[in-house]
Amino acid sequence: MEIINFTPVPAFIGGALIGLSAAFLLLVKGRVAGISGIAGGIILPEKGDVSWRIVFVLGLILGGLIYQYFELGPDVSLIVAQTDKSLLIVAGLLVGVGTTIGTGCTSGHGICGLARRSPRSLVATLTFMSSAAVTVFIVRHLGGA
């Protein structure tokens, strides 16, 4: 094991901002800040209640623009995709299908669910974390994919 690029301070500050956002959404709208759930409600809407979801998603992008404008961290031009386009398609499909079937992603289960001490979210978080680590191990160390 070799530890690289460790940035605990911005990571913690960013995490706290995410936590504040989730707490604010719960306090004001009584909603859980699960991104896959919020986005899923736009992609195939239930009746009503779509507008706040669209505005929230636009906010996610606005947050990224504010980060770039005020240069709050490493330049985004340094960010490159880690796989080729065909694997990006497979990955995107898996994330879409998986978060829909499993009713949540890193935010909904990993942050909001664990904070509510939901046993479902604990199991979900352990499952996707393990699955992701196994996938990285296969790709990086067994030379698969």
């Binding site: 094991m1 690289i4 690029n5 940035t7 911005p10 990571a11 960013g14 995490g15 706290a16 901002l17 995410i18 504040l20 956002s21 604010f24 959404l25 719960l26 004001v28 709208k29 009584g30 859980v32 896959s36 992609i43 505005v55 996610l60 606005l62 947050g63 980060y67 961290g73 985004v76 960010i79 995709a81 880690q82 796989t83 398609i89 995107g92 499909l93 898996l94 994330v95 879409g96 299908v97 998986g98 829909t100 079937i101 499993g102 009713t103 992603c105 890193t106 942050i111 909001c112 669910g113 904070a115 479902r120 199991v123 979900a124 974390m129 699955s131 992701a132 680590a133 990086r140 160390h141």
Partner: protein, 155 residues
């Protein structure tokens, strides 16, 4: 209107947090998921920061009878751990590990969209659409089967 502004503020704060935390860099995410190789433990601190704030704030907020701008809290009430939860987690994890993108960072990355980001977001939308459509049909079937079973009980 105020309610929409609140949603915009929450989304913006969330996106800003993801960017500051470094979650928008898939290399950082994949290195976090690689403790046996080149490990970047930073994302544990993202989760730690988010959990710390939420673990304190959530119980305080839930003491209220209602949210400020809504009639009731819509937190998930389901307790049961079923196959669906596990299968979904395994599939999501595989996709997350493969490219380093989970839904939030993927969407925030549209603020500097290039063809790679558009590809992964497009695939995510298609995947969600397919799964939601199938789930809806399946849930409808479950319902009719249940109704059928009930009917046969009566007969």
């Amino acid at each position: 209107m105020i309610s929409l502004l609140a949603a915009l503020a929450a989304g913006t704060l969330f996106g800003l947090g993801l960017a500051v935390a470094g979650m928008i860099d898939p290399a950082k995410v994949i290195n976090f998921l690689d403790p046996l190789g080149t490990w970047d433990p930073s994302l544990a601190f993202v989760m730690g920061g988010g959990l710390l704030v939420n673990a304190i704030a959530t119980p305080l907020i839930m003491r209220r009878k209602t949210p400020i701008l809504a009639e009731f809290f819509r937190t998930p009430s389901k307790q049961q751990i079923d196959k669906r939860l596990i299968i979904g987690g395994v599939l999501f994890g595989a996709g997350w590990g493969l490219a380093g993108y989970c839904p939030g960072p993927m969407i925030t990355s549209l603020s500097f969209a290039n063809s790679d980001i558009i590809t992964v977001v497009g695939a995510y939308i298609v995947g969600t659409l397919i799964a939601r459509t199938l789930l809806r049909a399946w849930e409808r079937d479950q319902l009719t089967e249940k109704q059928r079973a009930e009917r046969s009980c009566i007969e």
